[in-house]
């Protein structure tokens, strides 16, 4: 491809002029609110080898606590769930997801990406909102089309809650490394949920050919990810960060699997193909469960568990290919 072709395509896709007066507005803001530059970012520390090892040990313990807390949160929510029988309509489910998203207040952004200055406030304000969301998804009897994704949503929300609780604790202890770790764990759930929420809002049953084309495209995206995304345990090293970076692997592969799931909701199977579609969704849910565990492995730099989870993910990927082929023919 292709360099030239891509230059042209990307320019065509993105080229828009700078909004009129944008620079002048910036100039005005800078002149109006002068700031005093400081020489070095807050919370930046230099680590000795020993303290790094100590911190790594603490990280493993903290991650185990996050995983356990997520399991407890799901268990508690399960105990509140209502018996099956009256399934929610698709519209009602879409409305519930929409309503459970907190008001358009940028709670998450208050947790600054670099120095986490607003993490404490952000975490404390956000946890009850996500807990309500988790409780609602646990209480509902979702429409058949969203049963699988609702279950996954609960797992993600539970992990986000657990990570945010750890974030609050680490913020109070002024533990910058811990906060970064908690932030990374929570970020996966946030990104996944955003992708799936948008898909739920755009849910549409499509014609058989369109559905098959959509599945084919997602399968190609997953295949295209393959080795270049580090989908190879020997090249992906979490413990030393040599070879393919483990976090990079995670973000790339995980987004591709999540995108597949979102595609199945946006271009939903026609009624005649529901059984095959559910098989595929279940495969993807299994993959998502493994990826949630791999996220914790990656943050903890636990190479052995990462490799073992990777092997499981590859087995699930083979199943996905098989089930997708039965749809695309």
């Amino acid at each position: 491809m292709e360099e030239r072709f891509l230059f042209t395509q990307v320019h065509e896709a993105l080229d828009i002029p700078t909004p009129p007066g944008a620079y002048e507005r910036l100039r005005m803001q800078l002149t109006k609110k002068p700031v005093r530059p400081f020489p070095w970012p807050a919370l930046q520390t230099r680590w000795s080898k020993m303290s790094f090892r100590f911190a790594a040990g603490l990280a493993i313990i903290a991650i185990a606590v996050v995983a356990a807390a997520a399991a407890v949160a799901i268990h508690n929510s399960t105990n509140n769930s209502s018996p099956a029988g009256s399934r929610m309509s698709i519209q009602a489910y879409q409305k519930m997801v929409e309503a459970d998203r907190p008001n358009p207040v940028n709670v998450w952004a208050a947790c600054d990406d670099n120095v986490h200055t607003g993490c404490l406030r952000s975490g404390q304000g956000t946890i009850p909102l996500i807990q309500k969301w988790l409780d609602d998804t646990s209480r509902t009897n979702p429409p058949q089309r969203f049963v699988v994704v609702n279950q996954e949503m609960r797992r993600h929300l539970a992990q986000v809650i657990a990570a945010l609780k750890a974030l609050v604790a680490d913020s109070q202890a002024n533990d910058a490394a811990g906060m970064s770790r908690d932030y990374d764990i929570a970020a996966y759930g946030v990104n996944w949920t955003e992708m799936i929420d948008v898909a739920i809002g755009s849910y549409q049953e499509v014609a058989p050919a369109t559905y098959a084309q959509s599945v084919l495209r997602q399968t190609q995206a997953l295949d295209g990810c393959g080795a270049p995304c580090g989908f190879d345990s020997e090249a992906t090293n979490c413990a030393t960060s040599t070879g393919f970076n483990c976090s990079n692997f995670f973000s790339q592969v995980a987004v591709t699997f999540g995108g597949f799931q979102a595609g199945l909701i946006e271009n939903a199977a026609p009624s005649s193909g529901i059984a095959q579609d559910m098989r595929l969704q279940n495969d993807l849910a299994q993959a998502d469960g493994v990826l949630l565990a791999m996220n914790l492995d990656a943050v903890a730099r636990n190479q052995a568990r990462f490799n073992s989870d990777m092997a499981q993910l590859k087995r699930i990927k083979a199943q996905i290919d098989q089930d997708a082929a039965s749809i695309t023919g």
Binding site: M1, E2, F5, L6, F7, Q9, V10, H11, E12, A13, L14, I16, T18, P19, A22, Y23, L26, R27, Q29, L30, T31, K33, P34, V35, R36, P37, F38, W40, P41, R101, N103, P104, N106, W108, A109, D112, D113, V190, T193, E194, V198, G201, S202, Q204, V206, T210, R217, Q220, A221, D223, G224, C225, P228, C229, N248, Q252, V255, G259, E266, N267
Partner: protein, 179 residues
């Protein structure tokens, strides 16, 4: 005032900005504003959000101006801060009203060809992949400057670009075939 500022060297402007002179700092950013906006727009796909992100990044850059090493170029340093700001913004999208814009785009067309367009393909890339595609193919940056912006080696920059392109390939090929 403008004329006077234009006659100042970058080093003088930096000194003035370090003393808290907003006009001097704005003048420093003037040649890089368009690139910064493009990075932000390429990552966020929303011009209002992009303008806000550049503004936030400008204030952060000003606070951290003391970190800019003498003799190093302002552009990659500032673009890295813009990219970081956008990362925070895209994470915050969970709660943001900007989501509405995305939904409109999704529902206005049921055509599968539209669903595979490059903008959407870019949104499906991970944040880091999207960033590298934007720097290389939207800002037309050479690998050396990408490397400086991301704090990696030029070889690593080239590898990352190749990986991102590999991920885009199936979608771009479908799009190319449809034309």
């Amino acid at each position: 005032m403008h004329g006077q500022l234009f006659s100042q060297t970058e080093a003088e402007l930096i000194q003035a900005a370090l003393r808290g002179d907003g006009s001097a700092f704005a003048e420093l950013l003037r040649p890089h504003y368009q690139s910064a906006f493009r990075v932000a727009y390429g990552l966020l796909h929303d011009s209002t959000e992009a303008e806000d992100a550049v503004q936030e990044a400008a204030f952060k850059a000003w606070r951290r101006l003391g970190n800019l090493r003498q003799g190093s170029s302002l552009r990659p340093w500032f673009l890295a801060i813009v990219a970081n700001q956008c990362r925070g913004t895209s994470q915050s999208k969970w709660w943001s009203v900007a989501r509405g814009e995305k939904l409109e785009r999704e529902t206005e067309s049921v055509d599968i060809a539209a669903a595979v367009d490059l903008r959407r393909a870019l949104l499906r890339l991970s944040y880091d992949e999207r960033l590298i595609v934007v720097l290389r193919y939207y800002l037309d940056m050479p690998f050396e400057e990408i490397a400086t912006t991301l704090g990696i080696t030029p070889k690593a920059a080239r590898n990352r670009v190749e990986r991102a392109v590999h991920r885009l390939r199936p979608i771009v090929q479908i799009q190319g075939a449809a034309v």
